[in-house]
């Protein structure tokens, strides 16, 4: 294990390291792992700002809204009920409205957004992919494509005219 330890935390970390040195599996699996332990106020151990903006929480109930607050359509909800969370695509969206309810408290929670999972073969190739292919199949110098340009001559300009 590669270590980067902040001031004053050598003691606890050496105890844990000693513990893991007695577990063969841990030594093998953590040989390229990097353990970083330090006080949050220490500049060397601060959280990078980019990580804060694109947070990815994993199952921490303190920060992720519960199941009832999942954003999903009725169809997707039925799918979750029937097949579980594994059957849908999920991502997190930060929601200020999910706060404990105290006045002036601007904290929020991450709300889980669930969408129907696109089947790689059926939905992907048969449905979405042909439409994309059709769009790419028309080259700009194709006359059929240019009819649009005649109707809206400034289509290629950056000015939003429509």
């Amino acid at each position: 294990m590669i270590k980067r330890i902040g001031e004053g935390l050598e003691g606890p970390v050496s105890v844990i390291e000693n513990f893991f040195s007695h577990i063969p599996g841990a030594e093998e699996n953590l040989q390229t792992a990097e353990l970083t332990v330090g006080l949050a106020k220490d500049n060397r151990f601060k959280i990078p700002l980019g990580a804060l903006r694109q947070a990815a929480y994993v199952g921490d109930p303190a920060h992720v809204g519960d199941e009832s607050s999942i954003y999903a359509s009725a169809e997707v909800r039925a799918l979750i009920k029937a097949k579980g969370m594994g059957a849908v695509d999920t991502r997190f969206v930060f929601d200020h409205s999910l706060r404990p309810g105290k006045l002036g408290d601007m904290s929020g929670k991450y709300r889980l957004v669930a969408t129907k999972r696109k089947d790689l073969v059926l939905d992907g190739v048969l449905d979405a992919a042909p439409a994309l292919l059709a769009g790419q199949g028309y080259s700009p110098w194709n006359v059929g494509y240019f009819t649009k340009v005649f109707k809206a001559p400034l289509l290629y300009s950056r000015r939003p005219i429509w």
Binding site: G11, A55, Y57, G59
Partner: protein, 304 residues
Amino acid sequence: MKFESGSEPWCEVMDLFLSDYVGFASLEDTGQLSNNAIRNVQVRAGMMSTPVINMSCSYDLSIEEMKRAEQSGSPFGSQLITVKQRYADYALRMLVAYLIYFGNTNTETVGLLNVPTSITSYTPASMNNIFLTNATNPGAAQLLALEQIIVPFLTTVYNKIETLKLVMSPTCYNALTAPYSTQYSAEGAIKAFLANFLAGKTKDGGVPNIEIVIEPLFAPSTMFNANTYDYFMLLATEMETGPDEEKTPLIMCGAPLMEFVYPTIPGAYDTQYKFLKRYAGIFAPIGGQSVAVWTGFGTKGSGN
């Protein structure tokens, strides 16, 4: 105990205001002039603060590993890639567990063992010693010893606690299963203790809860506890307080963020993943009344 995340997952210091933990009812004569005026609740100004520790563990998954994990059908082809993630998480969880119990004085991280003003050294014969030497009534002697430390603890908090937790080393627990008496009853001391304690009822008719935690981190002569003696801990985690008898946590574990994964950047050869846990420490506003620790209760080492 209760894990509290606070309202800000990225804070650098966790604070607890102590004003919630002060105040008691008093009976007074209404006829007295001095008692007619409404008294303010005494608010104790104060704050407990603990700096937050960022701890993270990273692991790499190479394209080769990912591809091998995708293969199915052959028992030799597929390989579990979750093992690395689980070990990384394990390392962080062990570190948190160690800090919860033992704390770290260099960073002012309070652990459960640092909460009481002093740790009592248990001088009478340890549970293991009674188990080894008392041939006729080991359980009876152990039960008495157990009650002698638990009763004062409960009396101090007027039995208002919700759950009493007994945290002990495996040696201590195993010794406590010794028979009560060879002549009268084969019941273990721990069983007799539970039966005796649960015989009484609380004011609303329920029985008090007891939880026994067998904690290997308290065992003697290990890498966690280098001493020859073990630790025994009594915990009062919650109490009913205030006019509405709300449950107030007496011991809180400040952890702003326990499960976080940095956004990953898929690499050309391998992808690095990084777990993060943010941990502050134990907050025990009423101190030694909620946590009591003895050393050498289960064993004092070398066969005692």
